[in-house]
Assembly symmetry: C2
Homo-oligomer: 192 residues x 2
């Protein structure tokens, strides 16, 4: 998606070998017009699929997810991150390891909001090692729901997440695929 | 706002004397069509004001805020909640006491995203004792920015937050104002 790639080149900051800082438009400060354009692009890429629910994880997944949910006219459910979880029969939970922070979190979702009838489109802002998405997939499986697809804003294609999801046979759509940060600059996979 | 009040009556659950559970459409699961209608109503109520930025707090403030930001075509900034904060010159922070959880959190926002030139519309999902909004106002003041107004989805008018904000002279617009939960049912202030 050209408009997102251009914005990453303009306002993204490469830090070291593998960190991309996008706080000014995708993380702590959000550009709602860009979010809407991204949501429209996700809709285009998944509109042939049956989708009954959008699933994401707090906090930075919520903004793109709500706009995708509006386009599909279906509810949006977000997982809460918790340090530890008290076992509770009414919760799905999955453990997610963060390479960035070198800590584990639980993602927790009430069973009221995901069932075996659901066709779930997973939306998240970043795909690197794929731990957050794997946690969400784990929860979709616990609910015996169907995965309609996985939509990612920014993918670091040189890390293992995308390959892992492809091997599991999911339709993964990433709006910007980064091949490397060589020389401190963003390089994209040449796809267009 | 009739459509929100009707939805609260239909899907909100009153728990005890002062808790309203809205997990199925405003909290963990979000209804994006309702969010858009609420954002349109906030736009109507504040469109005469100069607004350069929307400010909210994670997690459940993000969805309404991003849609309001889209209507105003301005960036959305959200405060992160943290248990404790390491002092950092590049952060605004405010301490917020939660009566629900009986704990204090810090709300943290990077100085990069709020400045003295900003006219800030604060959006949040609930107003009860007003602690979260007071924290956001504290941060706007630290930035020497201007408060354009305060937009709230659901106000518990029988708690002290609204009165406190009115006394400070802000334009506060709440889309549903609850006067009591007498008899385990939601009663609204008669405004229309």
């Amino acid at each position: 998606m050209k408009i997102l790639k251009d914005r990453l080149l303009k306002d993204g900051k490469v830090i070291g070998d593998d960190v991309l800082e996008v706080d000014s438009f995708l993380k702590q400060q959000l550009d709602p017009v860009l979010m809407k354009q991204m949501a429209d692009e996700f809709y285009e890429r998944f509109k042939e699929k049956k989708v009954t629910k959008i699933l994401t994880v707090e906090a930075s997944g919520i903004a793109p997810a709500i706009m995708v949910g509006y386009n599909f006219n279906v509810p949006v459910v977000f997982g809460r991150k918790q340090k530890s979880v008290t076992l509770n029969d009414n919760m799905y939970s999955a453990t997610v390891f963060s390479y960035t922070h070198q800590t584990s979190n639980e993602i927790v979702i009430s069973r009221d909001f995901l069932s075996a009838d659901d066709h779930v489109l997973i939306i998240d802002d970043f795909l690197a090692n794929g731990q957050a998405v794997e946690g969400l997939l784990d929860i979709v499986n616990q609910a015996e729901a169907t995965v309609a697809g996985i939509g990612i804003s920014v993918e670091k294609s040189f890390q293992k997440g995308r390959k892992m999801l492809d091997e599991q046979g999911y339709q993964v759509e990433s709006l910007a695929r980064i091949s490397s940060f060589e020389g401190g600059k963003i390089h994209f996979l040449d796809e267009e």
